[in-house]
Symmetry: C2
Subunit: 200 residues, 2 copies
């Protein structure tokens, strides 16, 4: 699909048909996470692709699916035929930046003004969401309240933290998030030239 | 351009020709940042597009371009005809999640197990990097050591933190980052099925 079309179509879809997802598509979606940049080429992103129905049910429970359903949403988490969980290791970034070529001019480990492990994980998330659209599938995303429980369920290494769950499937009509009723920020208020506010 | 081609071509380019960047392309690249997801539809991403040569020089200085050049790199920051700086406001997220529809079951503001403002900013960064490729341009990315100085230079609102600088231009031959000599992580070590490690 044309890139601009993929970008324009991306939206969170919170309901799926019961049709399974092609394994080749799942592989390509998962692999796209590794196309995101990583500070110092740390390569500290992990991806767990979940199709096992028991694991998907466990994840749905951790994500509070009961709450969604009682609020009138579809059981879109357990109902998604696949979940993709992106995790990241801050430890790998810190170890990488303790290597000689990354030390500061004084030979000390640099301060991290921005936690790039989260930024890079977000870039990987965007790659996954867009690739799902490119595969003619739909994707949603949700955080979980208990990150340690999700990490345990997926048997992640101790240093890996899962950023949330991407649900993947063939789109079904869904209930829109109430958050979408919030006024849409105009481009003019978000995008500025040379300095913030100069063109307002 | 086809999405899969855009994804495959994305890489950090650290040198540009002196050809300027089409204004329409710059607009589309900047606008793509707003196509990233935002938790609770917080819409707390800001984008500053910089083409003014004095501001670009100031940014290059803050980013330590002198250090890059003395290490044998091209002056790729001041030399990039455009910079795009993505910023994010944690405050907007926290205010959004203090609204009634986002309170926890006990009526309290939720804990943030993952700082989604960084994750969402990373998703916006990925959109910008990919859209640059789609526009047949090249992009690089760098953090700056003094985030407050960058924020001041761009006159960002007090609550906005810039995550770094995307350099945009027409690609010129560049010196590869030494980080690329690190062994490439295999898909098998990063991507797992149902549980981490089950398929290793």
């Amino acid at each position: 699909m044309d890139f601009s079309q993929v970008l324009a179509r991306r939206r969170m879809v919170r309901n799926y048909t019961d049709q399974s997802v092609d394994e080749g598509a799942l592989d390509r979606i998962a692999a796209s996470a590794l196309r995101a940049p990583s500070a110092g080429n740390s390569q500290a992103i992990g991806v767990v692709v979940v199709t096992d129905s028991q694991v998907r049910s466990d994840i749905a429970h951790l994500a509070g699916e009961e709450g969604y359903v009682s609020a009138g949403f579809d059981p879109w988490i357990s109902g998604a035929p696949a979940h993709i969980v992106i995790s990241v290791s801050e430890t790998v970034y810190r170890d990488r930046y303790a290597e000689p070529d990354k030390l500061g001019p004084d030979g000390q480990v640099i301060e991290w003004p921005i936690p790039y492990w989260w930024v890079d994980a977000g870039a990987a998330l965007m790659a996954v969401l867009l690739t799902a659209v490119d595969e003619d599938l739909a994707a949603g995303f949700l955080g979980v309240h208990s990150v340690p429980d999700l990490a345990n369920t997926l048997r992640l290494p101790d240093d890996h933290i899962p950023i949330g769950v991407v649900t993947i499937g063939h789109p079904a009509p869904d209930r829109r998030s109430g958050s979408l009723d919030r006024p849409k920020k105009t481009k003019g208020s978000a995008i500025h030239r040379d300095h913030w506010g100069e063109d307002d």
